[in-house]
């Protein structure tokens, strides 16, 4: 870009005294209204810390106060809230720099939370803010700049910068960063892209400067369309600047404790990662092989769980593209280093065809969603789509799952070339997939239809093309309006619940129970499954309250984890759970937190609050926890027959139905009746374990017990359940 000064007219300015971060908290949150230009500091009191902890908890609490039950994603009062939590910004322990973002989702209409790497959240806290909430719709394109070095927040007119997340983060670095690597890594931005203006599945890109590679890297808050909300607000970027990060910038109560716990964990990763998943050598790409081996890899819109050509999407096919052997953490001190990078990739399609660009990723979800689920067994096509999704600001998971859905609709005759505007969207057609993506970037053609997400597409295809709504409901892999992430849950009842019950919609970051349930049979009864569907969602929620990444919890384990503990305990990785108690107490100094159950308690408060938040937005009850049947069992004859032995046996031994002499259609119907009844029993068991009513709402006693019985919360729940 040129060096001429950009037209950065200051629209609003707010000056503040930089507070010291003490025990993981800056003690205030930042409110910015890009519509009317108001900027304010809001205090964080002890009650807020003890009830909502931070991160996702702070996000939801601030969002709850900003919106009403009538607020829609594009209403001015909707907010984007970003918070890292008290442990966020810790440098000694791997995976402790996450930001958690929340908004009312364009796809679901309820709150979505997304956990993302990059430096923004920690730098925001070190700039004096535990969270930023951005409200309003700007009258022109703006940048919100938080200058933590000078104590100034500005809303700046930004007519000249790019919108896309290929050029814009580098422009912002040049504008707001300095010349040295240390000055550059003091800046982080949140951007989206032109695709997010046209589709509902827009993502956010969070940046960090890579001192060795010499360019800005990106991590995505992918789920739920938060990028769409950012662009609706006419915000090109949120930028934070804070220089001089140190080991104790987070103001820990007991630095020595953090040192000991962190150094021990780094050593464990050094020793164990090469023996386990080798994330340092390939990120999450190793998962494709495991999922294919266990028949869990989504193939052709989740119809099947494996494919002979899946080997073309294994880690071995991506690893040669990665630059390895240097740090790949998305925050300081993450030695698990899963944020892989392709430094030079030549694009063959789209506006940058022929250019060589860096690609961040791909992650497993992108490979499985855009690759296997669409039958595209071509790593270069996956890399190309990964790049353009990030550049356009589009979530790779929703894009992959939605594209797989339209490909099945195409093959089923619901769609054809005429209806797709000329795109031959059969499974395996990489060029059509890429053109669909470019249409989203340009805002034209069939891309605009697919970009609305599966829930809306189902209605459109039924209305315009006379497609059978029941079939669309069965094969459309969304729940609550959010597209499924990339695991086949058909043979794991617990994981069906893990997806169906997830507060924001079917994302695996709440529960991943397939191995415990289906492969290792460790949770055979409904009570066992309900216990797992209480513990693990609460445990995983805790990471989002604290600015943590889930991966260092169980994607690496102590060498003796499986011999020192019985299997169900080993699945919790007890030594790492103790590390997290150490970390929390080491940072916050809280004397009331002593054992793992105290961490779970923090999550229960926020998780139940989020459930009630769903109710506030018109969902949050049992009917919204029912997934599409494709996630529970075989919809089509081909699906049934691909696993006929398994299904016949289940009919005979579990449902007490003799499959002999029955047509496949009859067997599908019998299996379906059995499995749907099982799912209802699972809901009953989980609701009881969580202290919820049979309709899936926290009881008043549960709200009181958790200390979230605020008058408006109680009134809302009471109005629904009576009493």
């Amino acid at each position: 870009m040129s060096n001429k000064p950009l037209n950065h007219r200051i629209l609003a300015e707010f000056r503040y005294d930089l507070p010291r971060v003490e025990r993981g908290y800056a003690g205030q949150t930042l409110y910015v209204n890009v519509g009317d230009g108001s900027i304010a500091a809001r205090p964080v009191d002890e009650g807020m810390k003890h009830t909502f902890t931070g991160g996702r908890g702070f996000d939801l609490w601030l969002l709850w106060q900003a919106v009403t039950g009538d607020t829609r994603w594009d209403s001015p009062e909707n907010e984007i809230v970003i918070s890292t939590g008290p442990l966020g910004g810790t440098t000694t322990y791997p995976g402790a720099g996450k930001s958690i973002v929340a908004t009312i989702s364009p796809l679901t209409g309820i709150p979505v939370d997304s956990n993302v790497g990059g430096y923004f959240g920690p730098l925001l806290k070190f700039a004096g803010w535990d969270a930023i909430e951005v409200q309003g719709i700007a009258g022109q394109e703006v940048i919100v700049f938080v200058d933590g070095d000078s104590g100034i927040v500005r809303i700046i007119a930004a007519p000249e910068e790019a919108v896309d997340s290929y050029r814009l983060p580098e422009q912002l670095m040049a504008e707001f960063g300095g010349d040295t690597p240390a000055e550059k890594r003091a800046v982080s931005s949140v951007t989206s892209g032109p695709g997010a203006e046209h589709v509902l599945m827009g993502c956010l890109n969070f940046s960090f400067y890579d001192v060795r590679r010499g360019f800005v890297r990106l991590k995505q808050a992918g789920r739920g369309g938060i990028g769409t909300v950012l662009r609706r607000k006419r915000i090109k970027a949120l930028v934070v600047k804070r220089s001089g990060v140190r080991g104790d910038s987070n103001g820990p109560a007991d630095w020595g404790r953090l040192e000991r716990t962190g150094a021990r964990m780094h050593k464990e990763i050094h020793d164990q990662d090469p023996r386990m998943f080798d994330m340092r050598g390939g990120g999450t790409t190793y998962i494709t092989k495991i999922m294919n081996d266990y028949d869990l890899l989504p193939v052709h819109n989740f119809q099947y769980g494996s494919h002979p050509e899946a080997v073309k999407l294994y880690k071995s096919e991506f690893r040669p593209y990665f630059s390895l052997g240097i740090p790949n953490g998305c925050w300081y001190g993450c030695t698990l280093a899963c944020a892989q990078c392709v430094e030079r990739f030549e694009l063959r399609t789209g506006p940058l065809a022929g250019q060589t660009v860096p690609v961040d990723g791909p992650e497993y979800e992108t490979i499985a969603g855009i690759g296997a689920n669409c039958g595209i067994w071509d790593p270069r096509a996956v890399l190309e789509a990964n790049f353009y999704c990030d550049m356009y600001g589009i979530d790779t998971i929703s894009f992959g799952t939605a594209t797989a859905f339209v490909m099945e609709c195409y093959e089923a005759g619901i769609l054809n070339r005429e209806r797709t505007g000329g795109l031959d969207l059969r499974f395996g057609h990489a060029d059509a997939m890429l053109e669909l993506l470019h249409q989203m970037g340009r805002g034209e053609g069939f891309g605009l239809v697919v970009g609305q997400g599966i829930r809306r597409m189902k209605a459109i295809f039924a209305e315009r093309y006379g497609a059978d709504p029941k079939f669309l409901q069965d094969i459309g892999m969304e729940c609550k309006g959010l597209e499924y992430s990339e695991y086949v849950s058909k043979e794991s009842l617990a994981q069906q619940g893990g997806y169906g019950l997830a507060n924001k919609g079917p994302q695996h970051d709440e529960a991943w129970l397939i191995f415990m349930d289906q492969v290792n049979n460790q949770i055979p009864t409904f009570e066992d499954k309900a216990e797992a569907l209480h513990y693990f969602p609460m445990w995983r929620t805790w990471f989002g309250l604290n600015g943590l990444c889930k991966l260092p919890w169980n994607d690496v384990e102590p060498a003796d984890n499986k011999t020192a503990h019985p299997p169900r305990e080993a699945a919790k990785v007890p030594e790492h759970v103790r590390n997290y108690v150490d970390l929390f107490v080491g940072v916050t100094g809280r004397e009331d937190v002593r054992e793992p159950a105290d961490l779970i308690r923090m999550s229960e408060k926020v998780y139940n609050f989020q459930r009630v938040f769903n109710l506030k937005m018109g969902q949050g009850t049992r009917q919204h926890d029912r997934p599409p049947y494709r996630s529970m069992g075989p919809v089509t004859v081909a699906e049934y027959e691909s696993r006929a032995d398994r299904y016949d046996k289940q009919l005979r031994e579990l449902a007490g139905i003799d499959p002999a002499g029955k047509t496949t259609e009859e067997k599908i119907a019998a299996l379906r009746a059995y499995r749907e009844a099982q799912y209802e029993k699972l809901l009953d068991a989980v609701y009881a374990r969580r202290g919820w009513t049979p309709d899936g709402l926290p009881t008043i006693e549960t709200l009181r017990d958790l200390g979230i019985d605020f008058p408006d919360v109680v009134e809302l729940v009471q109005s629904r359940i009576g009493g």
Binding site: V211, V245, D248, G262, A263, R264, G325, I326
Partner: protein
């Protein structure tokens, strides 16, 4: 490059080296603040101290660890963010930390301990340069 070397047959376990090291760099006698540690294993003495192999250079996220002109691996405290990645990834467990400081510390082959060793068990030796690390290769190519 210069490296601290140890002769276990000469060591008598006096630990003068540990005291001298912490005095030199931290102005107090405290084994926990020494960049050289003498351990006794099976009746023999063993030294833990940096070999200047440079593996830590490639794990430091801020490039705070570099090799100087003499081949000594050094930590730039201004750039260090206290993550201790280098501590966990040192193949010789020779990168140390202490609760009084946010930066780790290591042997820089200053030779003070050599002078104080009563039995001549320590020496500064000139050994062939270690192979370039990934980071150093990038620097040499002008890529980092």
């Amino acid at each position: 490059m210069k490296v601290l070397q140890f002769d276990p047959t000469r060591c008598i376990g006096a630990r003068e080296c540990e005291r001298e090291c912490s005095r030199t760099w931290f102005k107090e006698e405290n084994r926990d603040k020494s960049a050289i540690r003498i351990n006794q294993e099976d009746g023999r003495y063993a030294m833990v101290a940096c070999t200047q192999c440079g593996e830590c250079i490639d794990v430091c996220p801020t490039m705070a660890i570099r090799r100087d002109k003499r081949g000594i691996v050094r930590i730039d405290k201004k750039l260090c963010v206290g993550c201790l990645s280098c501590v966990g990834f040192c193949p010789y467990l020779a990168m140390f930390f202490h609760a009084d400081y946010t930066e780790p510390f290591k042997c820089v082959a200053c030779g003070k301990c050599v002078e104080t060793c009563p039995s001549g068990a320590l020496a500064i030796a000139d050994v062939p340069d270690a192979p370039l690390t990934k980071t150093e290769q990038r620097l040499a190519r002008g890529e980092a």
